[in-house]
């Protein structure tokens, strides 16, 4: 029973804390550049505002337009069940899928948004969809390779096993295979969560990818999509921190205090990663569209190196 409650708490914490993470990153980016920046609660206010607005639907849109935000949001609610957010042991239903399964569900959300972008019939929706698919084609092999690397490292596809291995064995943690996986995943994290050097959710037409896909949305549906994007960011951060980078400070027994402590630790870890992300965003300028493959090639390379290093320990 307590495990079920914890599982619900995991999903809720992802849902509720995701806008906070977004707010923190946005504010820090401004602060680094000596500007005031929005408050860290601004994403909540945005969502609240959008939820109270009227939804305008294009005449050409079909049912896909309606279900895409819901499916995307549901996907983001499903993935937290599979990964260690608060506890370092599997909770009920977390054996539904392994790392690869989680990846598929995340991709399904993105796929639905792409379909919706095409479905809305606008020019920007089409451009956004094609660019998103292009980026996916570049990023996906690397993602798979990172998963392969993780699997070879832990001899298992379950995030909990990886977590235990890394938290328990410093020799593996400091081994080159793991460090390269961290580096490779970090680049993927930047790409997948709309950060520079790609930053797909910009409003500049030449660069926009995510923003173009959801340009036709408004009101509560837009709120759901934005929220889903924030949750995706939160989930990827969770995987990066709790599985790969900082596998410590999770609740071992599942007590209430442990869960709250783990949530607090999560915020601490995220601020650490966010700091790194903000650093990258500050020093890195945006790449031209035709150079997007460069960071991904680097990530691919790191994943290959990790796999090679993994064979030789």
């Amino acid at each position: 029973m307590r495990d079920i409650l914890l599982q619900i708490a995991q999903v809720l914490s992802v849902m509720l804390l995701a806008p906070l993470l977004q707010g923190v990153i946005l504010q820090w980016e401004e602060r680094v550049q000596r500007a005031q920046g929005p408050g860290i609660l601004q994403p909540y206010r945005d969502l609240w505002k959008l939820l109270h607005k009227q939804a305008v639907v294009p005449e050409t849109a079909s049912f896909i337009y309606w279900i895409a935000p819901v499916v995307a949001f549901t996907c983001m609610l499903t993935v937290p069940i599979l990964i260690p957010v608060l506890t370092d042991y599997p909770l009920p239903l977390s054996d539904m899928g392994d790392i690869l399964g989680g990846g598929f569900i995340l991709t399904l959300g993105s796929f639905m948004i792409t379909l919706a972008g095409l479905d809305s019939g606008g020019a920007y929706g089409g451009i956004g969809a094609s660019r998103a698919v292009m980026l996916g084609i570049l990023a996906e092999p690397t993602l798979i390779l990172v998963f392969v690397g993780i699997t070879l490292l832990a001899k298992a596809m379950l995030p909990f096993v990886v977590n235990h291995l890394l938290a328990g064995q410093p020799a593996v943690y400091w081994g080159p295979a793991h460090l390269f996986l961290v580096a490779a995943f970090f680049i993927l994290l930047l790409v997948e969560t709309d950060r520079l050097p790609i930053h797909s959710s910009t409003h500049i037409e030449v660069y926009m990818i995510d923003e173009a896909r959801i340009l036709e949305y408004s009101g509560p549906l837009l709120a759901l999509l934005k929220w889903a994007a924030m949750m995706k960011q939160f989930i990827l951060y969770t995987i990066f921190c709790n599985v790969l980078l900082l596998p410590w400070w999770l609740s071992h027994h599942g007590s209430a205090i442990g869960a709250v402590g783990a949530a607090a630790a999560l915020l601490g870890k995220f601020s650490f990663v966010a700091l790194a992300v903000v650093f990258v965003e500050t020093v890195q300028s945006r790449l031209r569209y035709f150079r997007y493959q460069e960071p991904l090639a680097a990530s691919f390379l790191l994943a290959v190196l990790a796999i090679v290093a993994n064979q030789l320990r």
């Binding site: 081994g175 493959q293 090639a297 691919f300 390379l301 290959v304 090679v308």
Partner: protein, 226 residues
């Protein structure tokens, strides 16, 4: 043999240093700016010096400390300084005529690493030491060799070619530190010295190229064919 029976932390440290050097070779492969090359090369040399120290410590080869100091001084400071002087003479800061874009060369480099790994693994299996640091050293050595050749092939600036050659040398040096740490001191010293002479010769030759051929890119050297 030294590199087979190691405490786990030492093995981890060796492999980390070796792979980090390989990564720096990729940094060179993936960057366009000549200064970045130089920096990556210098850092790589320092890593190799650290590796020498670590091997000297764990394997009880005191002469490797001397090698480490000389490596750091020669390869880590003097060579980059000499190369920097060449770069300043040339009035060129970046690679303009690569035949393969940096991202493609990264991917090709990754494939070369896989090839090197297959070869090294084969050798390791035949020696019964599969999965040890020795095989990793062999992999890194062969990969840096291949990456050096790749750099020679796809880069045109003379300084990139020199650095490609130096990557070749660094790869051999790194591998030999792990595989044959007991190699006579004299040989290692002479090879270090030889490298210095090579770079000095290249410096003179680059000046000739600028003066008499009026170019700093090997792509312009295409008069002699057939």
């Amino acid at each position: 043999m030294f590199a087979v029976h190691l405490p786990p932390l030492a093995a981890s440290l060796f492999s980390l240093l070796a792979i980090a050097s390989l990564l720096l070779a990729f940094v060179m492969l993936g960057s366009r700016w000549l200064k970045d090359y130089l920096l990556a090369f210098a850092v790589q040399s320092w890593l190799i010096a650290l590796l020498s120290v670590a091997i000297g410590y764990y394997g009880h080869y005191p002469e490797l400390y001397l090698i480490a100091v000389l490596t750091a001084l020669f390869r880590g400071l003097l060579l980059p300084y000499l190369l920097l002087r060449i770069v300043r003479q040339m009035n060129v800061d970046r690679e303009l005529h690569e035949r393969l874009s940096p991202s493609s060369s990264l991917v090709v480099g990754a494939l070369l690493v896989i090839f090197a790994f297959v070869v090294a693994d084969h050798v390791g299996i035949s020696l019964g030491i599969a999965g040890s640091v020795a095989v990793l050293a062999l992999t890194v050595m062969l990969s840096m060799k291949l990456i050096g050749f790749l750099m020679l092939a796809v880069r045109g600036e003379v300084i990139s070619q020199i650095l490609g050659l130096l990557v070749l040398e660094n790869g051999i040096f790194l591998g030999s530190q792990i595989l044959v740490p007991g190699m006579p001191l004299l040989i290692e010293l002479v090879i270090l010295f030889d490298l210095l002479v090579v770079v000095a010769c290249f410096g003179v030759l680059v000046r000739y190229l600028l003066l008499h051929a009026g170019t700093s890119s090997a792509h312009d050297l295409r008069r002699l064919v057939g």
